[in-house]
C-alpha cells in the first residue's frame, strides 16, 4: 500500500492543473490516468464564456447550479491568473483579457471566442496573408479568411513531386515533419520572401510541438512578419503543446505521474478510503492500493470516459461505481439535433463551493472527495463556449482544497 497526501484521478486539463496546484501547496500527490483525455484534441485557445459579458455580469446571470455561479467570480479570476502564470513558467504563455473575448479563426471561417490564447494564436495585427499547405484538408485558407475580411491573399504551397510532403497529412503529421530539421527548412524556404504584402502570416496550427517556439521565431525572422496560427482539427498540435507544458510542470513540481492505469474509488463512512489502481486492460489483474487524505475526480465526464451511458439510458460513473441522474430514457438524454441543449451534455456531478460533489440535497458525497473539469455537471461547454474556463476554475478550487 502506498500512502500519499492526495490522489488525482484523470490526466486531462483539469487533472493536470489540479495536481499542479496540490503539489505547489507542498503536498505529496499522485496523478493516475487511463489515457490522455481531451488534450490531444484540444484546439488550443481557452474558452471561458462565449457571450461577451464580463465575469461579474456573467456569474450573476447564471442558473444556481452552474459551476461558475457556485464557485464565484473571484475564483474564476484567480484561476485565470493562475493559468497565465503557470503557462508562462512552462514556456507556453497564454495571453488575453479575462473580462472580454478575443477570437481565433476556425477552419470553417468563423471566429471562436476565447479569453486566453497561446501567443501564437492571438488575433492577427494588421493585414494578413494566409498560407494553404499542400494536400491539407483540415483548414482551407480561402475559407478560413471569411473570419477576417475575406479578401486576404492566399499563398498556395505546392506539393513536392516525388516526396511524401503534403499527401493528405493531418495536423499532427505536419507538426512532426516541421519539428525536424528538413521540415523547418522546407517551410522557411517557401515562406522566406516573395510573399504578398501584409503584416501577419497566418497558418494552420501545425508549426511543430517540441520545436514550435523556435520554429515560430525563425519563420518571423525569415518572413519579416508576425506569425499566427488558426484553429485546426484533431489531432491538434496546440493541445499537444499544452499537454507537454503541463506534464513538464507537474513533473518539475514532483507530481508522481502514472499513465495507463485505471482507478476505482472505495468510499466508507468517513470518506474515500482507498484508490485501487490497475493497469489497463484490467480484467483479472490485481491492483495497487493507494491511500490518501483527499482525492480529486477529474475523469472527464461523457467525452473523457469517466461517465458511461448505459444501454437503458442511465449514466454510470465507472470510477466511483455510482449511478448519476439520467433522463429516464436514452432518447431524452440526447436532443433531436446535435447542438440542442440536452441532459447528456450537461451531465456530471453538482458541486458545492469547495468543489465537492454533492447529492440531491446538496450534501457532499464524501468530505474528502473533490471534482474538476467535465466530471462536474450543470454546464454545456459546447453551447456556452465555456469548457476551458470551467475545467480551470474547478481544478483550481479542487486543487486548492485537496
Amino acid at each position: 500500500m502506498v500512502k500519499l497526501d492526495s490522489v488525482v484521478v484523470g490526466g486531462g486539463l483539469a487533472g493536470l492543473v489540479a495536481a499542479i496546484r496540490v503539489a505547489e501547496r507542498g503536498r505529496r500527490v499522485c496523478l493516475v490516468a487511463e489515457g490522455q483525455g481531451m488534450l490531444p484534441l484540444f484546439a488550443g485557445p481557452l474558452a471561458v464564456w462565449g457571450a461577451g459579458t464580463g465575469i461579474d455580469a456573467m456569474a450573476a446571470a447564471l442558473s444556481p447550479g452552474h459551476p461558475y455561479r457556485v464557485l464565484g467570480a473571484a475564483a474564476l479570476r484567480a484561476a485565470l491568473a493562475f493559468f497565465r502564470d503557470l503557462t508562462r513558467r512552462a514556456g507556453l504563455p497564454y495571453v488575453g483579457d479575462a473580462e472580454a473575448n478575443g477570437w481565433v479563426p476556425t477552419p470553417l471561417g468563423r471566429r471562436y471566442p476565447c479569453r486566453l490564447l497561446p501567443e501564437r494564436m492571438a488575433p492577427p495585427q494588421g493585414p494578413a496573408v494566409l498560407v494553404q499547405l499542400p494536400g491539407f484538408l483540415d483548414g482551407v485558407a480561402r475559407r478560413v479568411r471569411a473570419a477576417l475580411t475575406g479578401a486576404e491573399p492566399v499563398v498556395e504551397l505546392e506539393a513536392d513531386r516525388g516526396s511524401q510532403v503534403g499527401t493528405g497529412w493531418d495536423s499532427d503529421r505536419w507538426a512532426r515533419f516541421l519539428d525536424t530539421a528538413p521540415g523547418a527548412r522546407w517551410i522557411l524556404e517557401r515562406l522566406g520572401d516573395r510573399l504578398p504584402p501584409g503584416d501577419t502570416l497566418l497558418l494552420p496550427a501545425v508549426l511543430g510541438v517540441e520545436g514550435h517556439e523556435a520554429l515560430g521565431r525563425a519563420l518571423e525572422a525569415a518572413s519579416g512578419r508576425q506569425v499566427r496560427e488558426w484553429m485546426g482539427w484533431p489531432p491538434s498540435p496546440p493541445g499537444a503543446r499544452l499537454r507537454r507544458a503541463l506534464v513538464g510542470e507537474a513533473a518539475r513540481l514532483g507530481v508522481d505521474l502514472r499513465w495507463g492505469v485505471r482507478a476505482t474509488l472505495s468510499g466508507g463512512p468517513h470518506g474515500i478510503e482507498g484508490v485501487t489502481v490497475v493497469p489497463k486492460p484490467a480484467e483479472g489483474t490485481r491492483g495497487v492500493e493507494l491511500r490518501a487524505e483527499t482525492v480529486v475526480l477529474a475523469t472527464g465526464g461523457l467525452p473523457g470516459g469517466g461517465l458511461v451511458v448505459e444501454r437503458d439510458g442511465s449514466l454510470l460513473d465507472r470510477t466511483l461505481g455510482r449511478g448519476l441522474a439520467g433522463a429516464g430514457s436514452r432518447l431524452r438524454l440526447f436532443g433531436e439535433t446535435p447542438f440542442a441543449a440536452a441532459p447528456a451534455f450537461a451531465a456530471g456531478y453538482p458541486i458545492d463551493g469547495r468543489a465537492r460533489p454533492v447529492d440531491a440535497s446538496g450534501r457532499p458525497l464524501y468530505p474528502n472527495l473533490f471534482a474538476a473539469g467535465r466530471a462536474v455537471g450543470g454546464y454545456d461547454g459546447d453551447r456556452e463556449a465555456s469548457g476551458g474556463g470551467v475545467a480551470l476554475v474547478t481544478a483550481f478550487v479542487a486543487g486548492g482544497e485537496a
Binding site: 484546439a43 474558452a47 462565449g50 468563423r110 494536400g135 484538408l137 482551407v140 482539427w233 459546447d382 463556449a385
Partner: protein, 520 residues
C-alpha cells in the same frame, strides 16, 4: 425534341423510377425523370441492402419469391459491382418449428430457388460468430446490393442515351384534358415549370398515393416502417437469415465493411415517418442474439428506417392490416382502366431486388397504351461500369467498385497531382480526386455522401464532414444540416463508446461552426 417523339415523364428517383428511365432509354425513348430530393432519397436509400434469393418469401408469398430469384440472377449478370455475391444461409435453431422448415423447402423448390443443405459444423467454420446452437442450415444465393452505386450506374447509362434526370424537382400538380393527362407541374428552388407529357409513370414508392391524389386518383397503400442497425464491422461473411416465418430482426446482411441487422415493421401514416424508437433498437438487438450471440454488445454506428410502399387493394385507404401478409410482388396500375384517366400508370410494391422487372412491366404497358412497339433490353444489357477490363491493385478495388465509369478519370487526376490522393474520408477511403470528380456533377454534400460513402463509416463524419464542406465550399448551414442528418441516425443508438464519440464530435463541430452555437 420533335413533336412526334413520345413525351414521357417518370416520377420518382428511387430504384424503380431509375429502372424505368433506363429501360425507356434502351428502347430508344428519351424521357424525363423528376425526383423531389436526391436520388435514392426515399426507400431505395433506406433499405436492408439484400439482393433477395426469394427464400424469405418462399412460404407466404410465392409470387414474390419467384420474382426475386429471377431478378437475382439477372442483376448478378448486369449490375456488376453494385452487387456483392456474398451468398446466404437460412438457419434453424433446435426450438424452431420443423414443419416450417419442410414447407420452406417445398416453397423454395416451387419458386426455383436453389437450396443446398450445409453441415452445421462446416457452417460454423465459415461463420464462427453465428449461433453455435444451430441445428439445420441451408445455403441460398443471397447477395448484398448497394443501391447508391446502382442508382449512379442507372443514371450514367440513361443519360448517355439522352435521358433527362432532374433532382430536387417535385411534382405538385397535374394537367389533364378530356380524361387524359397532358403534363405535370413541377416545383424546384427557382419556381414552377410545366412538363408536357403524353404519358406519366408514377414510381413514387411510399409517396405514390400522394402523387395519385395530385392526379385525382386513389391508390390504396399500407405504409410500414422498418428499422435497421448498422454495426461497425462485418459480423458474418454471408447473409444470415433465420429459418422461421418472417419476423423482426431476423436477417443480418454484410454490407461492404459493415453489417446491417433488420428489420422491424410498424404501420406509419406518412412516408417521412422514419424515426427509430428505442423499443425498436432493443427489439432488434434482442432478436439479433439468435443469429449472432453477443451482438448486442457490439458497436452500433447508427440506426435508420425506411418505409415500405405496399399496395393493398383490399385495404381501406391508409388502413391497417398485418403488413407482413401483404404481397411483396409488384403491382402495376393502369389508371385508364381503373379510374378512366388516360396517360397515367403507377408502379408500386415490389422489392429493390425486383426493380428491373417493375420497370419492364410498367414500360411495356406504357408503350402499349401509346401504340408503340420496342422490346425490353434491360435483361441482357450490362449497366455502365459493370465490367472493368483491366485488373487493378487491391487498394484501388474499392474505389473502382464505387466509381464505375468515373474510375479512369479519377486515376488520371491521381497521376497528375499527388495531393489529389489525400484521403478526405479515412473510414471509407475516399480520396480528394474522387470528391472533385463527383463535384463536377453536384456540389451538394448529401449527394456527394451518397455517391462516395464519405462520412458514413465509423466516425460518422466527425473527422471528414468539415473537410467535405471545405472542399466544395458548402455554406455553414449546409454543414449543420448534414451533421444533423447524421445525428438522426446516431441518436437512437447512443450508448457506450458511440455516445462518447458523439459527444466529442459535437464539441468539435460547435467550436468550428461558432456562433451558430450560441442559439443552436
Amino acid at each position: 425534341m420533335s413533336a412526334s417523339s413520345p413525351r414521357i415523364v417518370v416520377i420518382g428517383g428511387g430504384a424503380t423510377g431509375l429502372g424505368v428511365i433506363w429501360d425507356l432509354a434502351l428502347r430508344g425513348i428519351r424521357a424525363t425523370l423528376v425526383e423531389q430530393g436526391d436520388l435514392c432519397h426515399g426507400t431505395s436509400g433506406r433499405f436492408h441492402g439484400l439482393l433477395h434469393s426469394g427464400g424469405r418469401y418462399a412460404v407466404r408469398d410465392p409470387r414474390s419469391a419467384e420474382e426475386c430469384i429471377r431478378e437475382n440472377r439477372v442483376l448478378r449478370r448486369v449490375a456488376g459491382p453494385a452487387v456483392e455475391p456474398v451468398g446466404g444461409y437460412f438457419l434453424a435453431l433446435p426450438e424452431d418449428d420443423p414443419a416450417y422448415v419442410r414447407s420452406w423447402r417445398a416453397g423454395c423448390e416451387a419458386a426455383g430457388i436453389p437450396v443446398r443443405p450445409v453441415d452445421p459444423a462446416e457452417f460454423l467454420r465459415r461463420e464462427p460468430r453465428a449461433n453455435p446452437r444451430v441445428a439445420t442450415v441451408f445455403a441460398v444465393p443471397d447477395a448484398s446490393i448497394d443501391s447508391f452505386r446502382l442508382a449512379q450506374q442507372l443514371v450514367a447509362g440513361a443519360r448517355r442515351l439522352g435521358a433527362r434526370i432532374l433532382t430536387r424537382h417535385r411534382v405538385v400538380a397535374a394537367r389533364a384534358q378530356g380524361g387524359r393527362v397532358v403534363g405535370v407541374e413541377v416545383e424546384n428552388a427557382q419556381g414552377r415549370v410545366t412538363l408536357d407529357a403524353d404519358m406519366v409513370i408514377n414510381a413514387a414508392g411510399p409517396w405514390a398515393r400522394r402523387v395519385g391524389h395530385v392526379f385525382g386518383v386513389e391508390i390504396p397503400m399500407v405504409l410500414a416502417k422498418g428499422s435497421h442497425l448498422i454495426f461497425n464491422e462485418r459480423l458474418s461473411s454471408a447473409v444470415l437469415n433465420r429459418l422461421i416465418p418472417p419476423d423482426d430482426g431476423d436477417i443480418l446482411v454484410p454490407h461492404d465493411v459493415t453489417s446491417i441487422l433488420a428489420t422491424t415493421s410498424l404501420a406509419v401514416d406518412e412516408p417521412e415517418d422514419v424515426e427509430v424508437t428505442e423499443a425498436e433498437v432493443a427489439l432488434l438487438l434482442e432478436r439479433g442474439e439468435a443469429l449472432v450471440p453477443g451482438v448486442s454488445g457490439r458497436r452500433v454506428l447508427r440506426a435508420f428506417a425506411g418505409v415500405r410502399p405496399l399496395f393493398d387493394p383490399e385495404g381501406s385507404p391508409g388502413g391497417m392490416r398485418d403488413e407482413r401478409a401483404i404481397t411483396r410482388g409488384l403491382s402495376l396500375l393502369d389508371h385508364e382502366e381503373r379510374d378512366g384517366l388516360g396517360g397515367l400508370i403507377s408502379i408500386v410494391g415490389g422489392k429493390l431486388t425486383t426493380f428491373r422487372l417493375m420497370a419492364e412491366t410498367a414500360v411495356d404497358l406504357a408503350l402499349e397504351r401509346m401504340g408503340l412497339v420496342a422490346a425490353c433490353r434491360t435483361r441482357d444489357t450490362p449497366l455502365p461500369g459493370a465490367h472493368s477490363p483491366d485488373p487493378v491493385p487491391l487498394h484501388l478495388e474499392r474505389a473502382r467498385r464505387r466509381l464505375g465509369p468515373l474510375y479512369p478519370s479519377v486515376l488520371d487526376r491521381l497521376r497528375a497531382d499527388p495531393a489529389q490522393g489525400a484521403l478526405l474520408c479515412e473510414c471509407e477511403q475516399v480520396t480528394v480526386a474522387e470528391i472533385d470528380a463527383r463535384a463536377a456533377g453536384s456540389r451538394h454534400m448529401s449527394d456527394l455522401r451518397r455517391q462516395t460513402w464519405c462520412a458514413m463509416g465509423p466516425c460518422q463524419g466527425t473527422f471528414c464532414a468539415h473537410r467535405l464542406a471545405g472542399r466544395v465550399d458548402a455554406p455553414a448551414e449546409e454543414l449543420v444540416e448534414f451533421v444533423t442528418e447524421r445525428w438522426r441516425g446516431q441518436r437512437p443508438v447512443l450508448w457506450g463508446q458511440q455516445a462518447r464519440e458523439a459527444a466529442v464530435g459535437r464539441s468539435l463541430m460547435a467550436q468550428a461552426l461558432w456562433p451558430a452555437g450560441a442559439g443552436w
